[in-house]
Amino acid sequence: MRNTHQEPSPDDGLDVSGLPGGARSALEAVLMVLDQPASATDLAAGLNLTVDAVELLLLELQREYDGYTVKAPDMEIAREAGFTSSPRGFELRNVAGGWRIYSRAEFADIVGAFVLEGQTARLTQAALETLAVIAYRQPVSRARVSAIRGVNVDSVVRTLTQRGLIEDSGTDPESGAVLYRTTSYFLERMGIGSVAELPQISPHLPGLEGIEEFYDAGRM
């Protein structure tokens, strides 16, 4: 993934607007080779376009794939010409801070039969609960997760790490305990841009604003 963000320069030689389909198709071509979500900034740098322009194109493509015909001032005429506004078999999504092409969920059963690899088994109840605690309390030590769940979570944490859903995020300066956080793969799997988009836990925790202090008061 590129880290250098450069403004488009006229000397660069790369000018996507002269190509068939212009910048829009060029962007589409790049989306085709991604194997992980790419940010608008990265895409802009690669296409020699401004971030704003790329973001506009991305939204345009997203709408188009969803079945809304872009730049069709008159849908009546369009329909007469035989254009239907049905969604494509794929969609463009903004997840985990980047854009990526996905097959549309409606076709999961059919697509799933072709894609054996990468299909992941469902998480166990224990794994889900541990993942939830880590997601909402990160960075957090295993001991803290154990205290919240009331059971030892060592092996579940190991499995979640193997599956790439959580990772080591350093050690607690005081206790020296390893702290865990969720990964960007977790965000991808959840289809969200950041952990801030996780559903609010407060409605599920009526009147428990003080729980943190209770915990941190040193009762393990």
Binding site: E129, R142, G150, N152, S175, G176, H204
Partner: protein, 301 residues
């Protein structure tokens, strides 16, 4: 929990007796049954003590009264005892963080021993808060269970979308810079050996070692207290803990006293508020053994 917090126990004694005796038999029986076929746990997705507690509480309609809590506490302890009697090892594994719950429940039992409506000092309030804390924990746990269910749904729905993740087209792959390779077979083998070797699990929480530190057995402390008191002479709590080597041991002796009190083999006497608490052996000589003491304290990992 400190030695001082035991102060009002004398008056609370009668109350606790009444509680224990007054619990309707059907409630006491309704928890978990030991049958000849084995132990039956009617719980879905049992993962730990909190699950069990939640189930017990919901069975009692989350009635946040002391009686309901006492019932839940008793059932919980009974449940663990039964498991141990049946040598259900798996359950003890599940309950490896049991000390947390046990400590909270003990707080709770202590709070129950407080005379109703009599809150005298900060320690009393702390005991009452212990009860709220248990519920706070349980509610928090319940909240996480609920968001976990939400996450499960989301993950399931999202897994129906497959990302495009194709191999790099050949002509692009061919453009990749030539790989720099600087490893001899020996170096590579060393690398493999290190990578394949099972990782020694990193120490769980260095800083918490002292919390789980030297195990102090509540049962042993109970035996010790029993032996001392069976000499016939009442002893003050101060005297009973005079030779305690650590705070943990003081706590263990206090817990042991609660257990002995529960078993009605000791009586407390306190002449003045905040005065010395005197403990007296009331059971006939050999009629008591520590064998049936709650063993939950003994099973720390």
């Amino acid at each position: 929990m400190t030695a001082e917090s035991a102060t009002p126990l004398a008056q609370g004694g009668q109350q606790a007796d009444a509680d224990d005796g007054g619990t309707p038999p059907e409630v006491r029986k309704s928890g978990f049954e030991v049958r000849k076929s084995g132990f039956e746990v009617r719980l879905a997705n049992f993962t730990g003590p909190f699950d069990l507690l939640l189930a017990l509480i919901s069975k009692h309609q989350l009635d946040i009264t002391e009686v309901a809590l006492a019932t839940v506490t008793d059932e919980f302890i009974k449940y663990i005892r039964n498991l141990q009697q049946l040598e259900e090892e798996w359950a003890l594994d599940e309950a490896s963080e049991f000390l947390v719950i046990a400590a909270t429940l003990l707080d709770l039992k202590a709070a129950r021993l407080l005379p109703a409506g009599e809150v005298e000092d900060d320690e009393d309030i702390a005991l009452l808060e212990a009860r709220d804390l248990l519920f706070a924990r349980l509610l928090q746990y319940k909240a996480f269970k609920q968001v976990a269910a939400l996450m499960d749904t989301t993950l399931e729905l999202e897994s129906r979308r497959y990302p495009r993740q194709v191999a790099l087209e050949e002509h692009f792959a061919a453009m990749l810079p030539e790989l720099v390779w600087k490893y001899t077979p020996q170096q590579f083998a060393a690398l493999a050996e290190a990578a394949v070797k099972p990782k020694t699990p990193e120490p769980t929480e260095v800083g918490l070692a002292h919390l789980h530190g030297s195990p102090v057995s509540v049962r042993e402390q109970a035996e010790l207290i029993g032996l001392r008191l069976q000499q016939g002479k009442p002893l003050s709590f101060r005297a009973l803990i005079a030779d305690a080597e650590s705070t943990l041991m003081v706590v263990a002796r206090f817990l042991a006293l609660l257990e002995l009190f529960r078993d009605q083999v000791v009586a407390f006497n306190q002449l003045a508020p905040l005065g010395d608490l005197t403990v007296r052996w009331t059971a006939p000589g050999a009629g008591w053994s520590s064998d049936h003491l709650s063993e939950e304290y003994e099973e720390q990992p």
